[in-house]
Point group: C4
């Protein structure tokens, strides 16, 4: 069987989230622990892969300001050289002790032009200098527009700080067992209308090949209207579960990956939000349950302590 | 039974909106009267809980302008001190009667720089002062970009002014009774495509514990295409209703909370909007009905008077 | 039967789009011909009804620029008076022939400050004038931010120019008759994923009262993926139709209103869009069909002529 | 049968995506190869067809900057003439060697005003010049606001670079044949929650007329949660397929068009995105299969090589 045929092979159920079985035959993790894609698309042309807007949005704030500051300085150095090319008389300074250094004079004039301050104590005198300053005026207008747009986009794009329990646990549930993951909202915004999908990925022998198989797991519930406290996602391990009847040792022997995908809405911004998590075999725990996350008394409000999100208790 | 097991207990129906039964065993109200969450998540780290964008959006306009104004003054005072550090000759003033006070001179120069006005009647003379003013120029550009983005976000984020009747009432309905809440739109925008969910929360004895139980209530209708007038949400109290066969006295004895959740769309902005309300036992009324909200004649348009939203009439 | 009971009366089917039967007993049109709501909500408090953002978005471009220009002039006149209050020496002018008129001097200085130009040929000299100009600098920054946000919102908000045929027609359809409305897109953007709802509103005698009744009409199709040409919405008049078996004269005697509601997506902006139309009895035509809207040959593309949207042909 | 009747003819199945059978009787391609609409709506009035925002968004970056630059120069030339009309003394220049050319003096003054730089070394002296510069100040504010809004809209609007295989192929599938198209994401953003529709358009003899007919094709799967690698869309050719039992020669004789429509979500921006493709008979291949797109080993991540998207292998 060739690789391209396998893409279409019936061993790929419709619920594999679009990962596909060929990829599945590799042993790499599909999602990182915190839900980013552990995938690469190589061979994208330079131009087609350029996505400056996505880059400017995904940089950390520190790197972002460093980049913007560098561009600001760099552009002004560039324009300073243009003014120097215009000649030493191109910029006239009217204050008492004018800056004699032609670079600094041109650089500060450039900054006053780019930022549209224009004190006027340095002023262009020649046609050439006027032309350069006109071009810089236009550049400054576009630059301010760009930075405004990008800053707004950074602020307003949907962000989530969904916190996930460190472990996926096999805990007592309705007289049997359940596979559980606990999540809460680590930010102060309110999320609503959440729905969740959980898929189990494990290796099985198929036609003599060690193949990854995908099993969507049935959940006690897969949607909630409010998410202002914590949500314990529960997969009941009953006869229909692919985990039914397997001992802890058997499960640990397999290379399991649990993919959790959450969709919801930011209550204030009415934006659609996503979050993902992945648990590998080493993240699973047996014979434990989640410790209570509720805070007994908190001035009339129902309160949880998010620091207890991953806290486990032994089940006797 | 431990607390973490209860989270998974079958007494929690799939329709409890994600509140969970543990939280449910407390007696605090879950939503405030006007639909805000009466919940807390403590233990969020300082950094992870920082959400300046959400804060800037949720402040009232008065506080917002006070904050922005304070930042404007504070930043300019800060830069004024930087200029003063540059020395008394750093800023030269060319008008006839220059300001002698070095702080005021520096402060006004700072404002003219930050806002990119740059009259030039105060101008930097030293390299140091030029460098500070260059940094301030950059700060001013970023500041203008930030304030533009935040102001736009405040204006454009979805807002609703859904008004709710003060009471939830038990009124005559199709020969029997119905539990009713009336709502209207308190703003001039038009809302469309509304859908509503109503959940009854009440305390019951379960395994000897006083436990909150959640009952989604069937509605006469749960969606409307237009919401330009008023909508009386009706839960018919028939045999299937958890309120069926209970006297007024019995219902008042229970600690009932009625949660109402509305989703819809702003017709002009095409934004998804939400609203919530909560009614506790003390907000319920019996043997009344809503007074007519329609205005008899209003120049050809169909008109309601929103001041009559909560008006009740005795049922004889 | 009282009015508030009628709101809940079974004569209101679940499909009346949320209009309600009480309102329905009036004879006013519910939607205007071009789909705006013919409704009023009076009694809104002044503050709660203030929605400047919606107002700024809904003004025509002419009125919008007139408003913004008036605000610009008004604010500068206001600040000019503040400068005049600071005294005649407050603003010093350095050009050869200074403006002697104190108002004009103050007004132009104000404009140069508000717009952050700051030529400097007029400059403040006193502490008071400097303070006023600092406040104006802050006002100018906020003003620029506001106008930027509002202009962007006006440009980017979802707009549709759906054109509707002038008439709703009873035309031959599959050997019988169909009630048809034709629509096309009057703008150059592409709309996709459209769905449509059609509701017939007519007066009937109910319990001796002339009551409006709502009938959702079954359509030949109620959604299309593409809307780059024209769409003839067809309600087949079969045995299940509320129009079945009624003569033209009978239908004209009733006070019919046909409500058409369309939802879709702007292909470029990925924005959700809406449109509505309403046809009253006088807008109906019998024994006609829509003329072909297709243009025979147009250089390889499939073309329609939107000017023929409402063109009818007699059916022999 | 007249044309307008045909619009409603039963030969148009509900799944034709809204194209309609009249249009369908022409032989023009409905979508271009890369998914743009091959349609025209003529007769739109000049005003109603003006959609400057859509135009500004759809221009290439090069044309966009050329347009904005031209407007900048043009407006400043216009204002320069207004200043020249005010007289030769209207603008006074304070630098040592003032520009004598009245046009250049007015032009540079205009630029310094429009961009709100305002050095002040050129300053208005007359009332008329002050009025013109006030109007230009207002124009500059609006211009900056407009360009900011448009630049932001260009950056933030949903963009996709979905790459499609050059061919639609008939490849081995589960012991039979499948019609397959392969797609991947040509940009660095991540797309999620994709769903796809495929419609076959072909000519058939209906009532003696060569008529286009539309057949929605059943797919092996029509949605995936993740799209970080590649997706081979497969239509299994079984008994229910309109392609069942037809030889390659027969299919090539028909004028087939395969329309593929994809919807999804940008993972970072949470924006809804669309893409379309169209394959005509000449784009079909038989007895081939897609070559593997996976890269054997790429440092722990699952990797594909997008350059192999269209690579085919002969099926022996």
């Amino acid at each position: 069987m060739t690789e391209s045929e396998q893409t279409l092979h019936p061993t790929m159920p419709a619920e594999d989230l679009g990962i596909g079985s060929v990829q599945a035959q590799r042993t790499e993790r599909f999602l990182t622990r915190d839900g980013r894609f552990n995938t690469k698309r190589i061979g994208l042309g330079f131009l087609s892969s350029l996505s400056p807007f996505h880059l400017l949005l995904s940089l950390s704030w520190g790197k972002f300001f460093a980049l913007v500051g560098s561009l600001f300085v760099g552009l002004n150095v560039l324009f300073a050289f243009f003014y120097m090319v215009c000649g030493t008389d191109a910029l006239q300074m009217t204050t008492e002790h004018p800056i004699e250094n032609t670079f600094w004079r041109a650089f500060f004039f450039s900054i006053e032009t780019f930022s549209t301050i224009g004190y006027g104590h340095i002023a262009p005198t020649t046609l050439a200098a006027h032309l350069v300053s006109s071009i810089e005026a236009f550049t400054g207008l576009l630059g301010a527009a760009l930075i405004t747009g990008v800053l707004f986009a950074r602020f307003s794009r949907p962000t989530t700080r969904i916190l996930w329990s460190n472990n996926a646990i096999f805990a007592p549930y309705r007289g049997g067992q359940g596979l559980m993951v606990r999540m809460t909202n680590g930010a102060h915004n309110e999320l609503i209308e959440l729905d969740v999908q959980v898929v189990l990925v494990q290796f099985e022998g198929v036609n003599g090949q060690r193949t990854r198989r995908f099993y969507p797991l049935k959940l006690e519930r897969n949607q909630v209207e409010f998410f202002s406290l914590a949500w314990t996602i529960v997969h009941p391990i009953d006869e229909e579960s692919p985990l039914w009847g397997h001992s802890e040792a058997e499960l640990q022997a397999r290379d399991i990956e649990l993919l959790v995908v959450v969709h919801g809405t930011d209550d204030m911004l009415a934006q659609h939000i996503h979050a993902r998590a992945s648990y590998k075999t080493e993240d699973f725990r047996w014979n434990v349950k989640f410790a209570s996350i509720y805070v007994p008394n908190d001035h009339g409000a129902v309160a949880i302590d998010v620091r207890k999100l991953s806290e486990l208790e032994e089940v006797r």
